[in-house]
């Protein structure tokens, strides 16, 4: 079941993931990301089965995240048909996992997922944004900007940056930290959390300097189609894949 929450809470079911993936593929999504928000051993089996089913009929890159904490689990997900695995909590607890994953499967397969919360600038958190783990429940005391650079150094091939403040609000992406990180690393940064209108994507891809924008609520609830969003972006001069 696909669910969507607000600020990482109150997740409500929004549909069957295979059906939704198929619809978004038909509608021109450039990549599809699955996050297993329950991330238990049992649910991982379900996710692997899901990836396997999706990968049989959807031929665009798939990223899978949620609770992945070993090379073995990465391999399972990749063999099931994902291009990339996204690691988050496990990477904070064991940063070597990024390095080992990149060595085993190539940097292009390793996405660092980061959940960040604005806590104000301090000596410990110079950027003002702190990394939180366990689905946004546990603060780490780690500065988000530092962690992004460190993950790149360890071999991450991409960063998926999710703002806890913005998640599910549909009020726009968190542009400041997105821009800070995107300017500081040379790997692609995918902005996540907060998209509600096509102009939010425009803002984060221009002002926020993100390489890609992740959307959930705005299409899950049928407010917009991917085609409409892309048409809007193309009109504004953003380079998008217009036919597929």
């Amino acid at each position: 079941m696909t669910t969507k929450g607000v600020k990482f809470k109150d997740n409500v079911p929004v549909g069957d993931p295979v059906e939704m993936a198929r619809r978004y593929y038909e509608d021109g999504a450039d990549e599809i990301v699955f996050y297993d928000i329950t991330a238990s051993a049992e649910s991982r089996k379900i996710v692997i089965d899901l990836v396997d089913r999706v990968a049989r009929e959807i031929f665009i890159p798939l990223t899978v995240g949620g609770g992945i904490k070993s090379l073995e689990e990465m391999r399972e997900v990749l063999l099931a048909g994902a291009e990339k695995v996204s690691i988050n909590t496990a990477a904070v607890k064991n940063p070597r996992l990024i390095y080992e994953g990149a060595k085993a499967f190539g940097s292009q397969s390793i996405v660092l997922g980061m959940d960040v919360l604005y806590v104000g600038e301090s000596e410990r958190i110079p950027s003002g944004y702190e990394v939180w783990i366990n689905g946004g429940r546990t603060p780490t005391g780690i500065d988000a900007l530092w962690w992004a650079k460190e993950a790149e150094r360890l071999g991450a091939g991409e960063i998926c940056l999710n703002s806890i403040d913005a998640d599910g609000t549909q009020q726009g992406y968190e542009l400041r930290i997105t821009r800070m990180i995107s300017e500081a690393v040379s790997i692609p940064v995918v902005a996540s959390g907060g998209a509600g209108h096509p102009e939010h994507l425009y803002e984060v891809l221009t002002t926020g300097k993100a390489d890609a924008a992740l959307i959930a609520s705005m299409v899950h609830y049928g407010q917009y189609t991917i085609r409409e969003i892309k048409q809007y972006l193309a009109q504004k001069g953003v380079k998008v894949r217009e036919i597929w």
Binding site: D30, F59, P61, G81, E83, E158, D211, R241
Partner: protein, 208 residues
């Protein structure tokens, strides 16, 4: 039967899945004899050229590939597959198979697009392939279609006439080539949606 060559250079299951979806029978193999028995061959691959060549040589697959190439049966290289068919790669540097004259080089850095925005290396994402020559590889494909790329290196063939398509990413580079029975693309057709599937289908229906 289509053989998909496994030389420990990445995940081959997506190519297999795409062929299954299209209804073409295929199998994954790293056995030179099985390769030589196949009707057609796809050699995908991601990762470093040096390591890939090492695996190929260890298993005698470099020779099997050469024999297959000379036999005139259809073969398709994908991503790293387009790179190892030239003489040498700057990655390493590495001596590669040398079926075609030319070399493989890395994107120059810093790299900028026409608007002056800095481009990241590797190129990771969708991009167009501008056809420079009519060819069966592009049958049914609109020039506005895009394909999924993940790479830091690209081929520089000596013979310009083998270039079928050009992609722009800061610079222009050949992203699709063909030389008789040998086709090769820098992008991942198995991850490029419907146009990518069409490239695979065109290849599977191609009889030189």
């Amino acid at each position: 039967m289509v053989a998909i060559l496994d030389y420990e250079a990445g995940n081959l299951t997506s190519v297999k899945r795409a062929l299954d979806f299209l209804g073409f029978k295929s199998f994954i193999t790293s056995d030179p004899e099985e390769v030589l028995r196949a009707e057609r061959l796809i050699f995908p691959g991601v990762g470093a050229a040096g390591k890939a060549m090492e695996h190929l040589r260890q298993k005698g697959l470099d020779e099997a590939l050469r024999e297959f190439f000379l036999s005139g049966r259809p073969m398709l290289g994908i991503c790293l597959g387009i790179q190892i068919i030239f003489e040498k790669s700057q990655e390493g540097p590495t001596q590669t198979l040398g079926f075609l004259k030319g070399k493989v080089v890395r994107f120059p850095e810093p790299l900028f697009d026409k608007q002056g925005e800095r481009l990241k290396v590797p190129q990771m994402g969708w991009n167009r392939v501008r056809p420079v020559k009519a060819h069966r590889l592009f049958e049914g494909i609109d020039p506005r279609h895009e394909f999924y790329f993940v790479h830091s290196f690209y081929p520089e063939p000596e013979q310009e006439e083998i270039i079928l398509g050009i992609t722009e990413y800061g610079i222009e580079f050949p992203s699709a080539i063909a030389h008789g029975n040998l086709w090769a693309v820098q992008f991942h057709p198995e991850k490029s949606g419907r146009p990518g599937l069409r490239v695979l289908e065109n290849f599977c229906r191609f009889n030189p």
